[in-house]
């Protein structure tokens, strides 16, 4: 395996680089779209159930089906990475819009009432009080979406754009174990690192959580 890596470092690094941005760009886009969507689902309660149901249906569409279906819908080329980015953004939004709504709904109403009584307007209250309190739930959803995206990117290799997935198809075509093993290990490691980074961010931005868990600490 070491020898394979030495001989093919350029190919592997290229695949890894493509994998990273194909997986993480949709996370950022999806998060940016899901935040306002989830908020609307809480602000207008009649929107909550349509939001949850639509998310469920969108999430049940197989990734390979979506990858090949999007070019028809968007008019993009089949081999364009845009299809992968859009497809994974849809999954991220489907997963996160619901989590954001659930997180905001889980905020103790006495907390929001106290904030209102202290003179917070709706928008300031959302940014300064409700979002921080809902953050652990939202970030837990973000972890799931990120890890799922990183493993889903490789399916794109079946339509020619798949980051590390290209190592799988290459190994499969040549009946050669090394590239497949390298691809799996790098993909799992990437997911682990991304997950860890979000956990560290969560620790940094919710310092109060440590005190609650530690009791007197």
């Amino acid at each position: 395996m070491i020898q394979y890596l030495n001989n093919n470092s350029a190919v592997v690094l290229d695949a890894l680089q493509q994998h990273i941005w194909l997986a993480l760009l949709p996370v950022l886009l999806g998060f940016a779209i899901a935040l306002p969507l989830g908020y609307l689902g809480v602000r207008f309660t009649w929107l909550y159930h349509p939001l949850v149901n639509t998310s469920g249906v969108l999430y049940s569409i197989p990734s390979l089906a979506l990858f090949v279906f999007l070019p028809v819908l968007l008019g993009t080329k089949v081999l364009s990475p845009i299809n992968i980015v859009v497809a994974l953004t849809i999954y991220t939004v489907a997963l996160l819009a619901r989590t954001v709504a659930d997180g905001l709904r889980s905020v103790d109403p006495t907390v929001t009432q106290a904030a209102t009584a202290m003179g917070y307007r709706r928008f300031r209250r959302l940014i300064d009080v409700e979002l921080p309190v809902a953050l652990p739930v939202i970030l837990a959803g973000l972890r799931v979406a990120t890890v799922a995206n990183i493993s889903l990117v490789s399916v794109g290799a079946l339509i020619g754009v798949g980051g590390l997935g290209q190592l799988f198809t290459r190994g499969f075509q040549l009946f050669y174990l090394e590239p497949i093993l390298v691809g799996i290990i790098l993909s799992v490691a990437l997911a682990g690192i991304a997950d860890l980074v979000i956990v560290l961010i969560q620790r940094a931005v919710t310092p109060w959580a440590r005190f609650q868990r530690g009791g007197t600490a």
């Binding site: 469920g56 249906v57 999430y59 049940s60 569409i61 197989p62 990734s63 390979l64 089906a65 979506l66 090949v68 279906f69 070019p71 028809v72 089949v78 972890r143 799931v144 890890v147 799922a148 990183i150 493993s151 490789s154 399916v155 290799a157 079946l158 339509i159 590390l164 997935g165 190592l167 799988f168 198809t169 190994g171 499969f172 009946f175 050669y176 174990l177 497949i180 093993l181 691809g183 799996i184 993909s187 799992v188 997911a191 682990g192 997950d195």
Partner: protein, 224 residues
């Protein structure tokens, strides 16, 4: 959008190789087998961990580890090791469904109110009876939730079986792409998506049927 392949009645005849009925059946076959093996492996382990509280580390981390494992890579790894055939596909799909079933079984068992378990013990139930008559029925809604998400995932992922030469609805996607027949690709994508949604609705009905009326609140509604 060209839907001619999807609505061509010739592709809907039974018993025709490569027709929709045959592809749907093989697709459901792989998925059902993987779910069966997944339940056989994950359910007892999850129940044991939830009942005894031993090894909870495994149950909690199985979910994350499973999600991060790329199924396509695992499938191609298995084919390279074992050769072409049904076995590598079943192994890859089973590995996919074990984590959600295991994690939800454990979570369901943990969520059972401790005082109910104590009451059952106080009434003289044996540990086996507590498990089968109290804990399992009470954990069932959560377990079914995990099973449903596992079923959705496996239906979606079984399409990759076609990439290693097996059947299922992935054939339409892979073959259609190979010969630039987008009408076929589109037909495959639509049928898989519809199949996933229909299966989820069916499992929602199954869930309503198997979950004890005392758990879903229907008994209370009927009594008042």
């Amino acid at each position: 959008m060209n839907l001619s392949y999807l609505f061509d009645p010739e592709h809907w005849q039974f018993g025709v190789a490569g027709g929709f009925p045959q592809l749907i059946l093989s697709h459901l076959g792989y998925s059902a087998l993987a779910l069966l093996f997944g339940v056989i492996i994950a359910l007892p382990v999850g129940l044991y961990i939830g009942h005894t509280g031993r090894g909870s580390f495994l149950a909690i981390n199985a979910g994350n580890a499973g999600r991060s494992l790329p199924t396509l890579g695992l499938l191609m790894l298995m084919v390279t090791l074992l050769g072409l055939g049904l076995l590598p596909v079943l192994i890859a799909l089973t590995v996919l469904v074990v984590p959600p079933i295991l994690t939800s079984t454990y979570a369901g068992m943990r969520a059972v109110d401790h005082s109910v378990v104590d009451a059952a013990r106080g009434m003289g139930m044996r540990p086996w009876q507590v498990l089968t008559r109290v804990e399992f029925p009470m954990a069932l809604p959560v377990i079914m939730g995990g099973f449903r998400s596992a079923a959705l995932q496996v239906i979606a992922t079984a399409t990759v079986a076609a990439s290693v030469g097996l059947g299922g609805l992935g054939r339409l996607l892979i073959d259609g792409l190979a010969v630039n027949d987008y009408s076929r690709v589109l037909a495959g994508a639509i049928v898989v998506a519809v199949l996933a949604v229909v299966l989820d609705l069916f499992l929602a009905l199954v869930q309503r049927w198997v979950v004890s009326p005392g758990m879903s609140g229907q008994a209370r509604r009927a009594a008042t």
